[in-house]
Structures are given as structure tokens and as C-alpha cells.
């Protein structure tokens, strides 16, 4: 066994021992409770539904909500039913009753569970959720696995890395499909389908919108042409279009918001007189404000001098450029200092997750006791 493997084994063993010990003490650790609510929705009358669904029923392979009637009652005691049923089989009712119902599960603090148990030990409204408890432990494992990278690359990190790549790639693909393609492209090109299946409140697309989406579809197909054995070069066209248009757009927006606005904001008077409430000039404040403006204007001009490319940094320009780089360094130092705050807050949030949600060592939100 290598030294590294031994180290990992020791760390792991100590950790598990501590965890078991923690589990024995007090309230234990890492459980998630959920509260059940029943939702029943009455479908609009059948005629309206049918007419709304008519556009889709012929084109869509999936069953429309009004026609399917599979039984999918989930026992309220089964905590695993936090993932109830597929949408196509969600309705529990027959078509005549025209209602559908399901259960929703909301996470509640353990304190509520304790209170509910005290009031009625037989209650089934608030229960331990196994999927979420397992999820919580997985999340804790992932957190530690990523942290372990700080020590050295190791199999735990590799598992976490492989998972995050796979899951997140699919995640963003799905978001792109449901949040961009469906409402924007399908919403413009096949509004009937989208209305009946996804978004009944969809506003009828405008002509211009439809044209632009047909254009987008053509560009998209050109991109995908690459997957075919021949003619892949055509995918350079949509890319060229994107690059060109981006260049054109950004020239305008940057010159407007960065160059002009920033230069205009710098035109400040070098001498400022600050008057207080009584109208008298406050010498000290005026002095500070004037110095601030002088420093600001000098700074902007010197930093710009640093960016000159076609002039050697010698003489006056050289001196200005040097002052400019000093300003830039101060800027960077300040940004660094400010950013540190945010980064530490992030770490604190992860540590709180471990100590509070998982290990139940601390209870800042009074979720488990007062």
C-alpha cells in the first residue's frame, strides 16, 4: 500500500468514526422532513380542452391530459413519492369528473416534525423523506470530494468531476430546450403545439418573430450540417454571421456606454467648493473634494497613456504611463481586497451547510430547537 493510500485510509477511518459518534449523540444528524399537501385541480370543461388540444392531438405523440386516466395514487405514507408520476399519466380522475390531483411535498424544519409528532404521534402529514435525506448525504459527500482536491487529486474528486460534467452538460441542454427552443422557436413556428402542450398562455407570434426564427432555424441546420459526411464547410456561414453581427453590435454598445459615457463623467472641475447647510463654504471638505477630482482626472489620463501602443514609453508619456500603471495596481489591489470578502462568504456558506444541514452541529436558524 502506498503512503498516499494509507493517508487516505486513515483520514477516511477517522472521519467515519467521528460521524458515527456524532450520530449517537443528541438528535443525530442529517435528515430531511417533508410536509404533504394535496393539490386538486379541476380541468376546464371538456369542450374547451378539446378545442385547445385539437391542434396538438394530431401531431403530438404524447397523450393529452384530458384523455389519459391511469391510476397513480401515491400512498401518502410513502415518502419516496416525492417524485410522483409522469405528466402523461398524472391525472387520476376519469374524464367525466375532470379533476386531477397530486401531492406536493415541501421541506420543513425538523422542529415542525417534532411538534407534529408531539401533537399526534400517528400523523402522516410530516414525514422523513428518504430521497431527500439520501440527497443531503450525497451533497455532503460531493462537498467533501471537491474539497479533497485541495489536498491532492484523488478518486473521490474524479468521481465528483465526472458527475458534475455529465449532469451539468445535460442540465444546460435541457434548459436550452425548454426555456429557449420551446418558447422562442417552437412558440413562433408551431404555436398551436406549444399552446396545447406547454404554454396555453402563449401570445400569438408576430410575423417578424416568425421570420427571425425561421432564419435562426436555417442557421441552426447549417451548424448541424457538420455532422453529415459532406458539406460541413457550410457551418462556417452561421459562425461568420454571428461573429460579424457581434462585432457590429459591440462596437456601437462599447463606444456608447464605455467610451463616451466614461469620458463625459470624467470632465469634472479641478476646484470644488463645498457648501454646508448654512451656505458657508467648508474649506476642509472643499479641499478633499478638489484633491479627489484632481487625482481622478490625472489617473484617467495617465492610465490612458499607459495603453498607448504606437508611442514608446519614454519621456512625458513614459512618466505618465508609469503613474498610470501605479493607478492600475491600486485598482487591482482594491478589487482583490473586495473580492476576497465574497469568496470567504462562499466558503462560509459551504461550511455552514456541512455543520448545520448535515452534521447538525450548529443551529443558527433554530430549525431543530430553541
Amino acid at each position: 500500500m502506498t503512503r498516499q493510500a494509507k493517508t487516505w485510509l486513515v483520514i477516511g477511518a477517522v472521519f467515519v468514526a467521528l460521524l458515527v459518534a456524532r450520530g449517537m449523540i443528541g438528535q443525530g444528524l442529517g435528515r430531511v422532513y417533508v410536509k404533504r399537501t394535496d393539490v386538486t385541480v379541476t380541468l376546464p370543461d371538456a369542450a374547451a380542452v378539446n378545442s385547445a388540444a385539437a391542434g396538438a392531438s394530431s401531431t403530438s405523440a404524447s397523450t393529452s391530459a384530458s384523455t389519459s386516466a391511469s391510476a397513480s395514487t401515491s400512498a401518502p405514507t410513502s415518502a419516496a413519492s416525492t417524485q410522483p408520476t409522469a405528466p402523461s399519466s398524472a391525472p387520476t380522475s376519469s374524464s367525466s369528473a375532470a379533476t386531477i390531483s397530486w401531492q406536493e411535498w415541501k421541506q420543513v424544519p425538523p422542529l415542525e416534525f417534532i411538534a407534529a409528532q408531539k401533537a399526534n404521534p400517528a400523523q402522516t402529514e410530516i414525514t422523513l423523506s428518504w430521497p431527500r435525506t439520501i440527497g443531503l448525504w450525497l451533497a455532503a459527500f460531493f462537498t467533501l470530494a471537491i474539497f479533497s482536491f485541495l489536498y491532492a487529486d484523488n478518486p473521490f474528486y474524479k468521481i465528483a468531476e465526472s458527475l458534475v460534467v455529465g449532469v451539468s452538460a445535460a442540465y444546460w441542454g435541457v434548459i436550452g430546450f425548454w426555456d429557449t427552443l420551446v418558447p422562442k422557436m417552437f412558440g413562433a413556428l408551431t404555436p398551436g403545439l406549444v399552446k396545447s402542450l406547454v404554454q396555453p398562455s402563449l401570445v400569438a407570434p408576430e410575423m417578424l418573430q416568425q421570420i427571425s426564427m425561421i432564419f435562426a432555424l436555417i442557421l441552426g441546420v447549417m451548424m448541424l450540417w457538420r455532422l453529415l459526411p459532406r458539406g460541413g464547410w457550410i457551418s462556417a456561414w452561421p459562425l461568420a454571421f454571428i461573429v460579424g453581427v457581434t462585432a457590429g453590435l459591440k462596437i456601437v454598445s462599447h463606444v456608447e456606454s464605455d467610451l463616451m459615457a466614461q469620458a463625459a463623467a470624467t470632465m469634472k472641475p479641478l476646484v470644488v467648493s463645498v457648501t454646508d447647510a448654512s451656505g458657508a463654504t467648508n474649506m476642509w471638505d472643499s479641499w478633499w473634494a478638489s484633491v479627489a477630482n484632481v487625482l481622478l482626472v490625472t489617473g484617467v489620463i495617465c492610465c490612458l497613456a499607459y495603453f498607448f501602443f504606437s508611442v514608446e514609453h519614454k519621456g512625458v508619456v513614459g512618466g505618465a504611463a508609469r503613474v498610470g500603471i501605479w493607478y492600475l495596481m491600486i485598482t487591482f489591489g482594491a478589487s482583490f481586497g473586495f473580492t476576497v470578502m465574497g469568496r470567504i462568504a462562499l466558503l462560509a456558506a459551504r461550511v455552514e451547510f456541512l455543520f448545520d444541514d448535515w452534521l447538525w452541529l450548529i443551529d443558527p436558524n433554530h430549525f431543530r430547537g430553541l
Partner: protein, 307 residues
């Protein structure tokens, strides 16, 4: 400690500063972990927080909200997602709390897809739990998320109802009592953005605040990373600015102080930011210490090199 050690170093062994310089960076990582987790445990167990001395920018936020007459309209934009909630949620909570306590009419919007979710959570935690008298539709309304970034802001300039045709319950904007007379964004005397990046405070300034020649008042809370980009706008375009968790803690302490009831302890959800300042302090001190040690090493080596 430097000089004495320095002269005594034996030629064969590496001098102390060389050893320190080549220290495995994992020791630094460990120190950082302890610096953050130690105070969290300590504050979590004892429940004590550090006092705060509010700075100018945070005081300005408080005063901007405080001076508004009751029932004024306030537009609150949630431009962040759960990933930045660690820094921004305490600000959002305190901002909504102050507005609710002042009985302002709040309109929540989100320009980040997940902003709607955090807005709902904040409404639940603050308004529904602690200010149940406020009625949705009359005193506050959540308009949900709208895609389009700056385009939404530009639309708000001319047509509020077009930018947000319905609220998160699906109610049409024209049917919401508190929004009956609202045509455009300039009718809100105060705009609040809790922002984690793009689109956020900077875009609000560029597209909305500048468009009204700074007539609208704008206060914002932002992450530490974006704060340096926003300070140039303070106090002209941005009337008040909460920078990172420090700003949140200062503002939170002011709100808590103004709403404190004798003998009643502040609810823990209103102390989030101040609790988080503990690890901040120790971690910052660690950073400062590391910079000092780094320079001690540097100068010791320089002297050695010169000798």
C-alpha cells in the same frame, strides 16, 4: 523574530525564511479552513455576533428607504440566483423587511431565471411570516422572471405592463390593484436591485437611471466582486450601495436597531449577515497575516542576498 534567527542560521540547513517560503500551500489551505469554520462553530454555539459601525454607503440605503412616505411604490429586482444567496440573501431579507415595516408597496421582479425563486422565498420568509397583514396584489406583488436582460429594462421605461404582462400567480397586470396606475418605471420613486452580476445594478444604471437623468432613486446590494465596478456610480447614480456581506451586515444591524422591540430578541433569520461577519473577520486577519509573513520572508531574503 527576524534578526536574531537570521544570524544564527547554520549554513548547511536552509534558513527559516526559505523553509517558510517553500511551505506546502496545503498548510495555508488548512489555516483558511480553520479560520472560516472555527468562528462559524463558535458563533453557531454561542449565538454572539460582532457589532457593526455602518459606513456612508450603507447608511444611505437605509435613509433612502426610511424617508419614503408610507404606501410609496418600490420596485425590487432580484437579479441573483441561489449560488450567490450566501452574500445577497441577507441584504434582500433586510431590504424587504424595512420596506414591509415602513408599509411601502413592493413590486418584485426578477431578471435572472432563478431570481423568481429567491424572491418567492424572501416573500415567504419576511412578508408572509412576519407581516401577514400585507396583502398580495394590494401591498406587494411578485411579477416573476422575464427573459431579455436589458431589453426588459428598456421596455420598463415605456411600458410596465408589456414588460411584465402578468404576475407570478398568472394574474394579468391590468387586474392588479396596486399596479392600476403604473405605466412606466419612472413612477416608482425608488428602485432596489439585489444584483450578482449581469444583468444587474450596472445595467439598471445604464439603461434606466441614466434615462431619467438620475431622477429616480436607486439603491443596490451587490456581491464583493461587482462592488468595485459600482463604486464609481455612488453617490450620483446609485444613492446607496451595500457591498458584499460587510455592507449587508451594516445595513442589517441598522434595520434591526430601528425595528427592535425591547425584550424581544431579533429572529435569527435577520442576523444572517452579522453571523457571517465572524468568519470574515478571522479570514481577513489570516490574509493580512499571510501578506505580512510573505513580506517578512521577502525582506529577510533580500537582506541575506545583500549581505
Amino acid at each position: 523574530m527576524s534578526a536574531g534567527n537570521f544570524n544564527n542560521t547554520n549554513a548547511s540547513a536552509r534558513p527559516w525564511f526559505e523553509r517558510l517560503d517553500r511551505i506546502d500551500r496545503r498548510w495555508i489551505f488548512l489555516l483558511m479552513f480553520l479560520a472560516v469554520s472555527g468562528p462559524i462553530l463558535w458563533i453557531g454555539v454561542t449565538g454572539k455576533t460582532l457589532p457593526e459601525a455602518p459606513t456612508l454607503a450603507a447608511r444611505a440605503v437605509f435613509q433612502e428607504i426610511d424617508q419614503l412616505p408610507a404606501h410609496s411604490l418600490v420596485l425590487i429586482s432580484f437579479d441573483y440566483d441561489p449560488a450567490s444567496a450566501g452574500e445577497l440573501q441577507p441584504m434582500a431579507t433586510s431590504l424587504v423587511r424595512q420596506c414591509a415595516a415602513k408599509n411601502l408597496r413592493m413590486v418584485f421582479i426578477a431578471l435572472w431565471p432563478l431570481g423568481n425563486q429567491v424572491a418567492q422565498q424572501t416573500i415567504q420568509d419576511v412578508i408572509r411570516d412576519d407581516y401577514p397583514a400585507l396583502k398580495e396584489g394590494d401591498d406587494f406583488v411578485n411579477m416573476g422572471y422575464q427573459a431579455g436582460n436589458e431589453a426588459v429594462m428598456k421596455l420598463l421605461l415605456t411600458d410596465f405592463a408589456k414588460a411584465f404582462p402578468k404576475d407570478s400567480r398568472g394574474e394579468a397586470t391590468s387586474n392588479i390593484p396596486m399596479l392600476k396606475d403604473v405605466k412606466m418605471v419612472s413612477q416608482f420613486p425608488l428602485l432596489i436591485s439585489v444584483s450578482a452580476g449581469y444583468p444587474g445594478s450596472k445595467e439598471w444604471v445604464q439603461y434606466v437611471i441614466s434615462a431619467y437623468n438620475e431622477k429616480m432613486n436607486f439603491v443596490t446590494g451587490c456581491t464583493g466582486v461587482s462592488a468595485p465596478q459600482l463604486y464609481p456610480y455612488f453617490p450620483q447614480q446609485i444613492a446607496g450601495l451595500l457591498g458584499a456581506i460587510k455592507g449587508a451586515a451594516e445595513y442589517e444591524s441598522m434595520v434591526n436597531e430601528s425595528l427592535a422591540v425591547d425584550g424581544v430578541a431579533t429572529a435569527p433569520k435577520y442576523l444572517q449577515a452579522q453571523r457571517r461577519m465572524g468568519p470574515q473577520l478571522v479570514a481577513h486577519l489570516l490574509m493580512v497575516g499571510l501578506i505580512i509573513v510573505g513580506n517578512v520572508i521577502f525582506f529577510a531574503r533580500k537582506r541575506r542576498g545583500a549581505a
